[in-house]
């Protein structure tokens, strides 16, 4: 029977009532006037001790008895068909215990990028595996290739794919009648084309009728995930059961791939263990070829196999954020209201076509939007979802268009312009926080003796991550007073484990240090992938419910033993209390001792749906301050203010870390990271961590995080995820700040000294003396 309740939802000065029909068995979300003992506190991570002492064991650290080493042979050619693979020499080499080829296992005889998997070896030592791998003979039929979207888009470009796969494929609006991976069926597509033409005409007319039209062409680069722990697993078969210590952000997804897609083992006979994971950032949802290869080699060899990628394999084959070429035209009226936006964009997700879109048509009210997106095949490693897929690319373009539009409207402040076109109920409050803390109106430095120019820029976030159904948690209260909460999902560094423990502790009425947590084991209850920033939104309601009902069972035991009314009892600060707040004289520990059984165990699933809530989406605003050396082109991001909201904040300290982490990756994306492909041989030239440049300590800005706690009401914990939102706006804010600093705009990232010097050289430099202090360009 669904209970109807009225709750307060909102934040700060913005609260309202909301009536909610609770789903079966669900409990009311925490309310602003409620005293919370654990939730909302800055508590250290539960796995921090293991990590700082180096005792945390990751997949890379596993060393089961008899373990041998796997190696993957990769194609040196960017585009080739595999005619034959001769393993005979390799098989005869010392220490070799298992071999396989990709054409056999994956039924794929094409190598569509330099780095594509061809064959694999397992041998006793790494050196033996390397030597044997290098002794594999492959006969290739080499084809011409394209490794950039520009070359792939040219007329007469070499075909990247196979069959009748065209290099350029429209991905949005979706073609009709299209075979998976193939080209559009022309007839069925005509309707779509007609609609597109009509839309283009309509929006073009709106643009023509606008007071001002701004246009720009923007380019973003391919970014690799570069998690510090590479992909892969240690795989071991015992009596037909497969155990994988995997580096994954989806324990159940990893298992699912080994069982359903590949089919050599049933789910009940496959266990994935992933207690500690050295980063994923979106690339580790699937087992990947390396996961399947590891399992197969282990089966063949009859001993455990460690199949983990080396850094080159990681950089070339384990995923990336696609690039984006975006052409945009925006029409605005003198009153500052956006009328229309026309977008054409292209990006490469590797030799496929899907997944390279840029989200450049959201966040603000953009009037009528005419958007067409194309996927461009290239002979490069395939894309995988990368922390806010599509958003940093789109934001880089859209946010600069916003600034350009504001500037073209006779000095309307870029923040005021955004406010005019934004109705997000949370972001309205965030602009002013960011503005004040970055010093939006302070005087800029313009040249002078040291030829440094400073600038400030702003951009917004949008995300939608309240989580969804499909998670369960198990809470076990033992007679000896020990408590454990279990879920099979993983913690890739986001703090999931700690947040889960905190929610359980809060609901049970005990401090966090009385709760132990067990994660990362598919033998435990179903948990979510660490993706879409949905993890704790999905998991915590289950954790809370499991704790709630476990507590109820415990209190029922107490009530029964003591002859008390169970509805008058609760637990708070590890004491059994009555509803009037008085202490019963029993501690939590005492209560547990009253059990007849060894333990109470409650397994509870999360409700299937979320409620309406205050807002379906998170917002966020970031402002960046940069310093540009006008003589060398070097850009330093001095400070980023990141205002972020994520529903109800369970642990502000780990939430802050998520924001800082996203900002640093965003600055890195803005300034230093890019995949560099060799035009001669189609190989990735910076398949390492030296020439692929990740932001270091000397480049890191000061990051000022302001967290907005929102009683969102969408679930019983009201949590929204915070993994992805903080990376959306950063590069855009930095780009806007650089434009503010140097008086000309960079349309391409990463913003390297080379690009800055070229931009400075090509602009007509205004006389610094003309600029009033603090005036915006």
């Amino acid at each position: 029977m669904a209970e109807e309740i009225t709750i307060k939802v909102g934040f700060g000065d913005h609260f309202r009532d909301l009536t909610v029909r609770l789903q079966d068995g669900d409990i009311a979300p925490w309310q602003p006037d409620q005293q919370l003992d654990v939730v909302g506190k800055r508590l250290p991570r539960l796995d921090a001790v293991a990590k700082v002492t180096g005792t945390a064991k990751y997949a890379q650290d596993q060393n089961p008895a008899g373990m041998i080493h796997g190696r993957i042979l990769r194609s040196p050619h960017p585009n080739a068909d595999i005619r034959s693979v001769d393993l005979s020499t390799a098989k005869a080499m010392p220490g070799v215990r298992a071999t396989l080829t990709v054409p056999e296992v994956f039924e794929d005889s094409s190598a569509r990028f330099a780095g594509a998997e061809i064959a694999a070896i397992a041998a006793d030592t790494e050196q033996q595996a390397d030597a044997a791998m290098r002794a594999i003979q492959v006969e290739y039929e080499i084809k011409d290739f394209c490794v950039t979207i520009d070359t792939s888009m040219q007329d007469g470009a070499p075909q990247v794919g196979r069959g009748d796969q065209k290099n350029v494929q429209r991905v949005s609006p979706r073609s009709r009648g299209r075979r998976r991976g193939g080209n559009a069926n022309p007839g069925a597509d005509q309707q779509v084309l007609d609609r597109m033409a009509a839309r283009e005409k309509e929006v073009s007319a709106l643009l023509a009728a606008s007071d001002v039209v701004v246009e720009g062409t923007f380019r973003t680069q391919v970014q690799t995930h570069a998690p510090f722990e590479t992909h892969g697993a240690v795989c071991s078969w015992e009596d037909g059961q497969l155990v994988c210590w995997a580096s994954t952000q989806a324990t159940f997804g990893f298992r699912g791939e080994l069982t359903s897609n590949w089919g050599q083992v049933k789910a009940s006979e496959c266990r994935v263990l992933s207690e500690y994971v050295g980063g994923g950032f979106g690339s580790k949802f699937s087992a990947g070829r390396e996961g399947v290869i590891g399992a197969l080699l282990a089966k063949q060899a009859g001993v455990p196999v460690k199949m983990m990628l080396d850094r080159s394999g990681e950089q070339t084959s384990a995923g990336n954020r696609p690039d984006a070429l975006q052409k945009m035209r925006m029409g605005v009226n003198k009153d500052g209201v956006i009328q229309a936006l026309q977008i054409r964009s292209w990006g490469t997700p590797g030799s496929g076509t899907g997944g390279a879109g840029a989200h450049n048509d959201g966040i603000y009210k953009l009037g009528e939007v005419d958007k067409v997106e194309y996927g461009v095949r290239t002979n490069c490693g395939g894309a995988r979802a990368h922390r806010a897929p599509g958003w940093p690319q789109g934001s880089f373009a859209l946010e600069q268009m916003m600034d350009m539009a504001a500037h073209s409207l006779d000095g309307i402040d870029p923040i005021e312009f955004r406010k005019k076109n934004d109705d997000h109920p949370i972001r309205v409050a965030e602009y002013d926080i960011a503005k004040e803390r970055i010093g939006w109106n302070k005087a800029r430095v313009r040249g002078g003796a040291s030829n440094i120019c400073t600038g400030v820029g702003i951009a917004s976030n949008l995300w939608f991550s309240a989580g969804g159904g499909g998670a369960s948690a198990l809470v076990r209260i033992a007679k000896d007073g020990s408590v454990e909460i279990r879920n099979g999902a993983q913690d890739i560094g986001t703090g999931t484990r700690t947040v889960m423990g905190m929610v359980a502790a809060e609901e049970l009425g005990i401090p966090l240090d009385m709760v132990s947590t067990r994660i990362g084991d598919t033998n435990d209850p179903q948990g979510p992938m660490s993706g879409g920033s949905t993890t704790i939104g999905t998991l915590t309601p289950a954790a809370r419910l499991a704790a709630h009902y476990a507590k109820k069972e415990l209190l029922a035991v107490v009530a029964d033993r003591k002859g008390w009314d169970p509805t008058d009892l609760d637990i708070r600060k590890a004491r059994v209390i009555r509803n009037d707040g008085s202490d019963t004289g029993l501690s939590f520990h005492d209560a547990c001792q009253l059990m007849d059984d060894d333990a109470i165990e409650v397994l509870k699933a999360r409700p299937r749906r979320n409620y309406a809530g205050f807002s379906d989406t998170n917002a966020g605003v970031q402002a960046a301050e940069v310093e540009v050396d006008m003589e060398t082109g070097v850009v330093r991001v001095k400070k980023v203010v990141a205002v972020a909201d994520a529903g109800k904040l369970i642990n502000p300290m780990t939430a802050e870390s998520q924001v800082r982490g996203g900002v640093i990756q965003g600055v890195s994306y803005a300034l230093t990271e890019r995949r560099i492909m060799d035009r001669h041989k189609g190989r990735m030239l910076n398949d390492d961590l030296e020439n692929y440049k990740i932001l270091g300590s000397l480049d890191c800005p000061e990051i000022d995080v302001v967290l907005v706690d929102v009683y969102n009401g969408k679930s019983n914990t009201q949590v929204m995820g915070l993994g992805e939102p903080p990376i959306v706006a950063t590069a855009a804010a930095v780009a806007n700040a650089v434009a503010d600093a140097i008086g000309t705009r960079l349309f391409e990232i990463p913003i390297t000294p080379k690009k800055v010097l070229e931009a400075i050289a090509s602009k007509k430099a205004p006389d610094p003396a003309d600029k009033k202090k603090g005036a915006r360009l």
Binding site: P44, R45, D47, A48, V49, A50, K51, V52, T53, G54, T55, A56, K57, Y58, Q60, D61, N63, E126, Q127, A226, P227, F228, E229, T230, Y276, V277, G278, G279, F281, D310, R311, I492, G493, T494, G495, M653, T654, E656, S657, R660, G661, G662, V663, I664, Q665, D688, L689, E690, I694, L695, G696, S697, L698, C700, E702, I703
Partner: protein, 208 residues
Amino acid sequence: MDKKPEEPPEGVSRRLFLKGAGVAAAAVSVAQLPSDVQATSGAEDEPTILGPGPVPIQLRINGVDGQAEAAPSTTLLDFLRDHQGLTGAKRVCDRGSCGACTVLLDGRTVDSCSMLAIDAVGSEITTVEGIGTPENLSDLQQAFIEKDALQCGFCTPGMVVSCTALLKENPTPDREQIRRGISGNICRCGTYQNIIEAVEHVSRKGGK
């Protein structure tokens, strides 16, 4: 040399026994190792040749002697991880560009992936395991926990080692010095600011 070469262990003809003479002298450069390497074979005026097969290597790690048979081409990182079970130091780039494999050699930070295990003979090696344990955390490790100076944790052992060395050399570093001190350690998750705050916290308290 004056010393008579030791008899090689039975069944081994050209195996060489490599053992340092003890604690290295204070001013010894990391690059210069004690020359009292005892060889079981090899003429006086010829270089000692080790390998390519395994040789017994004895290193002093976290105050304790650890020995294993390993090829002389084994990096210090692989020796620690695969032959001594010390998996704190991680293999991330394996090229000396990320610092995840950082250990201390006579108190100085080194990328253990970029040196051979035999290069560490005669030196004191300190890994993260020697800096603190769950039962006995160093002040710096405690500060890391309190300031949330970690996320996925893969760079953390290297960071702990680098920060420990930094504080040993300079107990009261300023922000810029801390940044420099960890400039050889990349963090992909983005924990730099929290690490700097953790080190500052220790610096204020005067701990290590």
